[in-house]
């Protein structure tokens, strides 16, 4: 999906920049007295060919095949009301706020009295949209509570695939970092913009939904477009070389978007996708003490370039059959790339969109850091679950990993103008 050139609104920075330019011109021309240069330019379309914003409305939600931005603030919410009307009202309010924020505009469009708290919290004022995307999802618990009770009259439309993920080998999940009724993935190139978005959405939600857990990510670990460099994870290796890319349009259709007829109970998901979130802690300190030989054998790629150990360069297809001295495969049998590669998983592909995180340190002074893994799939049962079972069981990397949070969300299709996110579910 090429970045759109649509300009849904005037960005905070455009105003900032133009106002500043106007100010400079005004100051220079000030003696002449004939002013007015600082005006009206706000309505001009941006001249830059590189947009710093993505449209909020569309067939699919933004923030999935959109080229991965640099920063993440992800939040899962518990719905605290019993009222379906309140829930729908929240989704409407969120939609309106999201459309404005992704266009670089403040939340709320009415001037308020001096005695009222401002409708926007203000910390993104003067910042450009920073390619902010806001992606909304629904967790299994929105449809049925822990006792199986239908909470909002939605149970009959709960997708077959939208269930709590199974326990995977070695899972050490904290309920305070797992699950949730709703989720919002905020991605932007400026962390302040992403945090501003979650903060304002959480504020709008008070009384209807409350944050259950949230995660900041400081650096993307995947490319979702061929226009992007492959970034590195905290193990120091390139991550996401073999990721599904937005340009692979037929694979995107096949592996990401839910198609008409996929689930007769959940036709509302057509054009949507499933989001798996896993908070994966890395045992950084012991990893750093392991030899480069061990590190590369665990990953199955070389660290410098990201080339498969069977040879070539980063984007060379790995040759899993190539053997070295003594007949052992160059790419070890328990290496991460072998176990996760589509060719070893019946051709299954996924779109990874994870972020590195560091949440300070633990009580022993070790980094509380790792990968906040996000993946989008058309069907978690056939795409994500089998691969994760295999990795959790066999992947040599598991010695250095601990999964501490887990969630699955159904991400509804995009929002049409005048509609609200998830509208087909409530129709």
């Amino acid at each position: 999906m090429a970045p759109s050139t649509e300009h849904p609104g005037v960005s905070r920075r455009r105003f900032f920049g133009l106002a500043g330019a106007g100010a400079a011109v005004g100051a220079a021309a000030g003696f002449a007295g004939g002013l007015g240069t600082g005006r009206a330019t706000a309505d001009d379309p941006p001249t830059s060919s590189v947009p710093d914003g993505y449209p909020f409305h569309g067939t699919h939600q933004a923030g999935i095949v959109t080229p991965a931005q640099d920063r993440l603030h992800f939040a899962a919410f518990d719905v605290t009301t019993d009222s379906r009307d309140d829930l729908v009202a929240l989704l409407r309010d969120w939609t309106a706020a999201a459309a404005r924020m992704t266009a670089g505009q403040p939340v709320g469009d009415q001037p308020l009295p001096y005695d009222a708290p401002p409708s926007d919290t203000g910390e993104a004022t003067g910042l450009p949209p920073s390619r902010l995307t806001l992606t909304f999802g629904f967790g299994p618990s929105l449809f049925r509570d822990a006792d199986g009770r239908d909470r909002f009259g939605l149970a009959h439309r709960q997708p077959q695939a939208l269930r709590r993920l199974p326990h995977f080998p070695a899972d050490n999940l904290s309920s305070e970092r797992s699950d949730g009724d709703l989720c919002v993935q905020a991605c932007a190139d400026d962390p302040q913009v992403a945090v501003h978005a979650i903060r304002n959405l959480a504020r709008i939600a008070f009384g209807t939904a409350a944050i259950r857990w949230a995660q900041l990510g400081f650096g993307r670990t995947s490319s979702t477009s061929r226009s992007q460099q492959t970034p590195r994870n905290l193990f120091g290796f390139k991550d996401g070389t073999a990721n599904l890319k937005a340009e692979d349009t037929s694979a995107v259709e096949k592996f990401i978007w839910v198609a008409d007829g996929d689930d007769p109970r959940a036709e509302w998901m057509t054009g949507g996708s499933y989001l798996v979130a896993r908070r994966i802690n890395m045992v950084i300190e012991t990893w750093d003490r392991s030899s480069l030989r061990e590190q590369e054998n665990i990953v199955g790629r070389d660290r410098a370039e990201g080339a498969p150990l069977s040879g070539g360069t980063e984007f060379t297809e790995p040759d899993f059959s190539l053997k070295g001295r003594g007949g052992t495969p160059l790419i070890p049998l328990d290496s991460h790339v072998r176990l996760a590669h589509p060719s070893q998983n019946h051709g299954v592909q996924m779109l990874r969109r994870g972020y590195n995180f560091t949440d300070g340190n633990d009580a022993l002074g070790r980094l509380d850091a790792g990968l906040f893994f996000i993946v989008y799939v058309r069907d978690p049962d056939t795409q994500y679950v089998p691969v994760q079972n295999k990795l959790s069981r066999d992947d040599a990397m598991m010695e250095y990993l601990q999964h501490t949070g887990s969630a699955l969300f159904a991400v509804p299709p995009g929002v049409r103008r005048g509609g609200y996110v998830g509208e087909p579910l409530f129709a």
């Binding site: 400079a24 005004g26 001037p111 308020l112 003067g126």
Partner: protein, 390 residues
């Protein structure tokens, strides 16, 4: 309209130092060509009051007032008689911009800038035409404001009376060494303080003497008041030196003296609608920062009594303002009503005897639920003041 607002706020941030006089906020030039915009740019200088339009359709109006003069200025929208104030913004420093938001029905008005804050101001006629939109005039309900004030003032008086009576009893029990009975009365007496906490806190000299927690102390500061006695009545298991009889008498006498002082000062107190509205919000802020976290009563763990008392006080303040709010924003009133009820239901679940369970008996989930309910109420309650003063 939206764009212009952003322009003006950024003009404030960026353009002001360089070209204060050059930036136009005129909505007629940027607002899409509307003949009668609802947003007016006002430029107040030392000797002029330039309003971008002299006419607007009835409804919610915004005057974006920029002080281009060198004196502190004010801006008023006055009724036809030139006396009654429909809306005002005060204390606009040189170079600053502030919005006045008012609701105005059709009619004749005056705009007025008051540079230097003296005199009748620089006036001009202003007309509001009939847009067909119903608009309840701002600032019209002097009777309702008066009623709210009287109701709240009498509540404050009543609470300080009860506080004084119970404090008298409490300190005599404490001084007499009847600790068991003093402990039983502690939370019950403090309820009357907590119900009017923002009022008590408005007396900046009394509040630190009466309600400071140990953690609030500055190094070397003398600690007096309720929480000093609280610690002596519920002492830590080790490392604590109990108060001597003489120390008890001194601290008890001081608390009683300060309470009498508070009582005296509240006999003739009066309020405005914004003080009452902000008081309601302030009480919920107290709950959110001190009570729901169990930090207020760190020795006695009677935080839920304080919690309930703060909620009581906020409810009384809101109820006094309800006649105003219902006229202006019935939906906000309904929301506040529903959320007060939801919060009260949760609190009621923790009642025990005449009071509440100890804070330490609450589990994490229960605290979280209370906190969510406080947030749910605080958000609409934070909009109360603007709604009733608009």
């Amino acid at each position: 309209m939206k764009r212009r607002l952003v322009t003006s706020s950024l003009a404030l941030a960026v353009a002001v130092p360089l070209m204060a006089a050059c930036t136009s906020n005129s909505p007629s030039s940027e607002g899409g060509g509307t003949d009668s915009p609802r947003e007016m740019a006002v430029t107040s200088t030392n000797d002029a009051c330039d309003v971008s339009a002299q006419k607007a359709p009835s409804g919610s109006l915004v005057f974006n007032v920029k002080n281009d003069g060198s004196k502190v200025t004010e801006f008023y929208l006055l009724a036809e008689d030139g006396l009654r104030i429909i809306g005002e913004v005060e204390n606009i420093g040189p170079g600053l911009t502030r919005d006045l938001v008012v609701k105005a029905p059709p009619g004749d008005y005056f705009t007025a800038c008051k540079p230097g804050m003296v005199g009748d101001g620089i006036r001009d006629a202003f007309t509001v035409t009939d847009s067909g939109e119903p608009a309840q005039a701002t600032g019209k309900d002097a009777e309702l404001v008066k009623a709210a004030n009287e109701q709240y003032a009498s509540y404050v008086k009543d609470q300080t009376e009860q506080l004084l009576a119970k404090t008298r009893k409490f300190v005599s029990l404490y001084e007499a060494g009847k600790d068991e009975q003093a402990r039983a009365l502690y939370a019950d007496a403090r309820v009357h303080w907590e119900r009017i906490e923002p009022v008590a806190e408005s007396f900046g000299d009394l509040d630190p003497k009466m309600d400071l927690r140990e953690a609030d102390l500055q190094e070397g500061q003398k600690w007096t008041g309720w929480h000093r006695i609280e610690k002596d009545l519920w002492p830590p298991k080790s490392g604590y030196q109990p108060m001597t009889d003489a120390q008890r008498t001194a601290i008890a006498d001081q608390l009683l003296k300060d309470t009498k002082d508070l009582y005296q000062r509240t006999r003739t107190i009066t309020f405005t609608a914004d003080q009452i509205g902000n008081g309601a919000k302030g009480l919920l802020d107290e709950v959110a920062t001190g009570k729901v976290t169990g930090e207020e009563e760190i020795w006695s763990h009677t935080d839920l009594w304080d919690f309930q008392a703060n909620v009581d006080g906020a409810r009384v303040a809101w109820e006094g303002l309800r006649p105003l709010l219902k006229k202006d924003n019935p939906e906000l009133d309904r929301q506040i009503d529903r959320r007060f009820t939801a919060l009260q239901d949760l609190l009621d679940a923790h009642r025990k005897g005449d009071g509440f369970v100890s804070y330490t008996e609450l589990d994490k989930t229960q605290v979280r639920k209370l906190s969510d309910a406080v947030n749910a109420l605080s958000e609409p309650l934070s909009k109360l003041t603007a709604a009733v003063t608009l």
